[in-house]
Amino acid sequence: MGGLQKKKFERGSATNYITRNRARKKLQLSLPDFRRLCILKGIYPHEPKHKKKVNKGSTAPRTFYLLKDIRFLLHEPIVGKFREYKIFVRKLKKAYGKTEWSAVERLRENKPTYKLDHIIKERYPTFIDALRDIDDALCMCFLFSTFARTGKCHVQTIQLCKRLTVEWMNYVITSRSLRKVFLSIKGIYYQAEVMGQLITWVVPYQFSHDHPVDVDYRVMATFTELYTTLLGFVNFRLYNSLNLVYPPKLDSNAESEPKEESEDDYAMNSESYLEKLSALSASLARVVSSAEEEEAQLDHFPTEGEDMEKMEAREKELKQQEAQKKLFEGLKFYLNREVPRESLAFIIRCFGGQVSWDKSVCIGSTYEMTDETITHHIIDRPSVDKQYINRYYIQPQWVYDCVNAKVLLPVEDYFLGVTLPPHLSPFVEEKEGDYVPPEKLKIMALQRGEKTGNEQEEEEEEEEEEEEEEEQEEEEEDDNGDEEDDEEEVAEEKNLKKMEEQRSQGKSLQVKVTPGKLKVENKARLEQEEKAEEKRLAIMMMKKKEKYLYDKIMFGKKRKVREANKLAAKRKAHDDAEKAKKKKARK
């Protein structure tokens, strides 16, 4: 036979991948440097389709990178900087060893640094790409901004994170783009819609962290390095898009200016400025002194019939959104000192409300507690000594629930010392067949504008619950339908058997003629049964592969139904218990 002998693993997918160690050798980098490079450049391992082929016949667990990715890393200028830094460390060590302090000083002054601008541009070629990926960046920056300056990471990093997150929050306030908030046990989730992208981030509660020992802070720091750069550029662009000055400046001619007198309490001017910004109580300065920008009206394009519905739906949604943006407009809030100030101030300002707090809590309070025009006093303690008569004293959950419900909820449920209604996640979108908590149904009814008394609501609720149950029963019936028939037959047979036994034992049957009953045939049900049987027979004829898939899908569906039923049952048991308790209490 002519030609060269083909060797294994010299073409095809085996040549497209490279293991991590080989990649590292190819780049001549140490493992920490390689890791840093991968993080900064966004290179991640790929799972090959045929792992054994790529692994040259071995099944040992290995991580593979795309060879192209690694080649791409070869040309990265940052790699050069890494090497420079290595040399710098060596020189520094030498100078220390020789106790040449001037050399040490000189070297330190010339410590090599690098910029990540080009990497950001390369990883996110368009601004939208960057926005799509900003979730993680925000989460990380918010986390770092809450760190104490204890040496887990550089103080500058913490400051920068703080600054960037404050800028971001100020942007969200100015653009009024916050959509959803959620108080979870982990932290507070926020969701904003920026340029059509839904961006979600989570902020931990304001407590000092006890730093875990099994977390590698170098990895986190490298990510933060990248994320701060990204977030800075994104902020710049966003501020520009709103004609705001960047770095942000407080609007000097706005009437709600923080009082000047408190400024003296703070040592440094620059620091107090950031503090004032982070108080989130003042609006920002614009490049073009803004007369209120007119909202662009959505143009109406006559379209085909089917699109019209969509258009209408979209328009309706837009209108709703506009309404939501002005949710708290005209309301004046006062925050008591025990409520999370930053979060509440952020949310209230996002929806157009005015907010203030005690002067001693934070800089930037705009009015006193004694102000008569305050409409809502947010408070989180069981009772308060002195109550003003013309304001509601409510618990903080009201604000969050209102934002999620997009309407101002009745305040009665949130008064001081009242047991709060459950706080629901706004991120759950129930599909058909999923379990919907009754509180959500209530809120949905409120959104639809049905203002009903409490009792009626409860009734409705019950009805709905009943309906649900019925549905479930029906479902069960579908499954059990034939079995029941079988059961009937079995019963009949039992009867017959008994009679036969009696006869075979020689006893004379007790002859008793009972008037026959007309067996009513439920036509619809019969039809249904027939269909069910047809389906079952057809399922028997499925191919093995399809049957497997079908079984899997059906298993998933059934599990979902089961879970929903379980939740509903739990709820019902709880409600019953509550009712019983109430009744007892009444007696």
């Binding site: 993080i39 991640y44 391992p45 790929h46 799972e47 991580t63 593979f64 000189r106 002054e109 010339n110 910029k115 601008d117 950001i120 541009k121 070629p125 601004f127 986390l143 500058q156 600054r163 959620f182 108080l183 979870s184 046990i185 982990k186 989730y189 979600t200 931990p204 509660y205 000092s208 990895v219 986190m220 701060t228 800075g232 550029f233 902020n235 662009r237 960047y246 025990e338 989180d380 959950q397 709060l420 459950p422 706080h423 629901l424 996640s425 991120f427 009754p438 509180e439 049987e533 079952r536 027979l537 057809a538 399922i539 028997m540 004829m541 399809e546 899908i553 739990k570 709820r571 709880h574």
Partner: protein, 628 residues
């Protein structure tokens, strides 16, 4: 000073400046100048004493406790004055003048007499060589670029500009292969600080959660309820979660997974509706009761009027099909393994297999003409020469006495236990199966008219499970454990070997057309062979949940049925087309249930009525059921 010394006895402690605690276990506190022990004061003052002292003693403020001697010393006015002066930072001695006029020894005025007269060094007025060396080194380093001038502080971080000012939509090649990391799933109601009560764990759920491995848990946290926001503590795993996300982002191998997005209804094959394939048996209409043991085998007479059944209770019963009456019962004295009605409509004979005997019964349940012709068939060879019994191992004998009265006509004694008897379509030949792994004597073919038996095979090809005659042509089907062999009886050779793809064949049936075979197996499968198509099954049907015990074809209608240990009989529609190119159409049309499971056995045999679309089944619950 002196009066102080006089007024106090000199009790200076000589132990030196050591911690007083060292003496805490001793009665003394040190030694005086004479080397005598200084004893501790007898009663130590406690807080109360101290307080009382403070309140009552006007000298308290000037009392100092001397640790060295353990005695209290009241300071005199002079001593207090001294302490005050020291505290103010003044000199102890009142008379010391700290602002005495200074004597200027070294002044700006040059005196005529120098202090030293040393001439100036040369190095003080020529440039320094070492300095020059150092400078030249630095200059050289700067020239060579080793030494860089101090960098201008240009805080590169935090200087932002419009990075995306000129957006180019050209996508790098890399970005085509880019798999964006999935976003973190959004929190559900479970995660709320104040969730609805149904989302909280019950005690069992909580115990389960704690037992589970962290990787198996559905929720990575326990839902908690707090009555107000101020009670919510910090989440201890917040940093962990962020860190894990970071690890996922740069360490987790990514793969594009195509999610199957199929409507499950689309997966169900579109079959003709069973309604359009009628007639087929749908309901249980008659139950034949009477046997006391499990009914292993049933057979319907070619006329369709009679049903014979053989049971483990040692009896063969004859039933009228339409009335379910037991017309006759023959005690044969042994568990009946198989019964088979002669398919020839002009004779009325039944073959019964029990132990190692095959009995030929003439039940006399037909009109006289038929009985006569069957008698003639049985007695034909009697008149002729006595059967040679050339085979030796098989003995033909006439039944006598009581047995004859019951209708037993012939006894064919086999060397081993017989499991199955089968008639040829003409009704003259019958085959019996004696499964045995070790010998080639497993199948006998008997000729009734000549009372002759022969063993067609000279070699053992495996444990024979069942045999069957081809309905039209001279073929003979032998099913062993794994395969079915088809022999041409005329040419005396094997024509085909069908691979059943199952572990253990239990039963087999041949289509009345002769071109299709179905076989059931103990591993719940039913395979349909198209003999023209391949030696592999055309279709494998896995309808049953347990072992398939019997299969049967209908003679006229395109129906076949399979009986299984799960207590069900499944009737399928199986149209066979004359066109060779068209494959048979197989549609399950009905699942018939009725038999009760006894001893893990369900339905043991199934057979169709010869003319009606009815199916009989016999079960381990000692009943026979008719489904119409």
């Amino acid at each position: 000073m002196e009066d102080i010394a006089l007024s106090f006895p000199d009790i200076r402690n000589t132990v030196g400046n050591i911690p007083v605690e060292w003496y805490k276990d001793f009665p003394h506190i040190g030694y005086n100048l004479d080397g005598k022990k200084i004893y501790k004061p007898i009663r130590n003052k406690d807080e109360l004493d101290d307080f009382l002292d403070k309140m009552e003693n006007p000298e308290y403020w000037r009392t100092v406790h001397d640790k060295q001697t353990g005695s209290d010393i009241v300071l005199s006015d002079d001593q207090v004055e001294l302490v005050n002066r020291l505290q103010r930072g003044q000199f102890g001695d009142v008379n010391f003048n700290e602002y005495e006029p200074m004597v200027e020894f070294f002044s700006s005025d040059v005196m005529i007499h120098p202090i030293t007269n040393r001439p100036a060094d040369k190095r003080s007025f020529i440039p320094s060589l070492t300095e020059k060396e150092k400078v030249s080194k630095l200059v050289h380093a700067i020239k060579m670029g080793w030494l860089k001038p101090r960098r201008v502080e240009d805080d590169g971080r935090g200087r932002y500009y419009d990075l995306w000012a000129s957006e180019d939509s050209s996508i790098l090649a890399r970005h085509r292969m880019h798999l964006p990391a999935p976003k973190i799933p959004l929190p559900g109601h479970h995660e709320s600080y104040n969730p609805p009560p149904e989302y909280l764990f019950t005690d069992e759920e909580r115990a389960l959660w704690e037992q589970q491995d962290p990787g198996d848990r559905k929720l990575p946290f326990v839902p908690r309820k707090y009555s107000s926001l101020r009670q919510v503590p910090a989440f201890s795993h917040f940093i962990h979660e962020r860190f894990e996300r970071c690890l996922d982002l740069y360490l987790c191998p990514r793969q594009r997974k195509m999610r199957v997005n199929v409507n499950p209804e689309d997966l169900i094959p579109q079959l003709p509706k069973p309604k359009d394939l009628q007639p087929f048996p749908t309901t249980q209409s008659l139950v034949y009761r009477g046997h006391s043991g499990l009914v292993r085998s049933i057979s319907v007479s070619p006329s369709g009027q009679w049903l014979a059944s053989g049971s483990d209770d040692g009896s063969v019963r004859f039933w009228e099909v339409c009335s379910s009456r037991c017309m006759k019962m023959v005690q044969v004295g042994g568990a009946v393994k198989s019964v088979a009605w002669n398919p020839n409509p002009s004779v009325c004979l039944l073959a019964v297999a029990l132990d190692s005997v095959v009995l030929i019964l003439s039940p006399s349940l037909a009109d006289k003409q038929v009985i006569l012709s069957s008698e003639r068939l049985l007695s034909a060879q009697q008149e002729g020469e006595e059967p040679a019994e050339g085979n030796g191992s098989v003995v033909w004998s006439e039944a006598e006495g009581e047995e004859l009265n019951q209708g037993v006509r012939l006894k064919i004694q086999h060397p081993k236990a017989v499991h199955q008897v089968v008639w040829h379509a003409k009704g003259d030949y019958l085959a019996s199966v004696m499964p045995d792994n070790t010998s080639h004597l497993q199948v006998y073919i008997h000729q009734l008219s000549r009372r002759r038996s022969q063993n067609p095979f000279s070699r053992n090809k495996g444990l024979v499970q069942c045999v069957s005659f081809h309905p039209i042509r001279p073929y003979f089907f032998v099913a062993t454990q794994r395969s079915i062999r088809i022999y041409n009886l005329v040419k005396q050779e094997m024509t085909k070997k069908l691979q059943a793809n199952s572990k253990w064949i239990s039963s087999m049936a041949v289509h009345p057309g002769g071109d299709h075979v179905i076989c059931g197996s103990y591993d719940c499968k039913l395979s349909w062979f198209d003999l023209d198509l391949s030696t592999k099954p055309y279709k494998m049907l896995r309808h049953h949940k347990k072992a398939v015990r019997g299969v049967a074809y209908h003679r006229l209608y395109p129906l076949f049925a399979s009986a299984s240990d799960d207590g069900s009989v499944i009737v399928c529609h199986g149209t066979v087309y004359n066109d060779l190119l068209q494959n048979p159409l197989i549609v399950p049309v009905k699942v018939l249930r009725g038999h009760v499971m006894t001893h893990d056995l369900g339905v043991l045999d199934v057979t169709f009525h010869p003319t009606q679309p009815w199916v009989f089944s016999s079960g381990a619950d000692a009943t026979i059921r008719l489904f119409t």
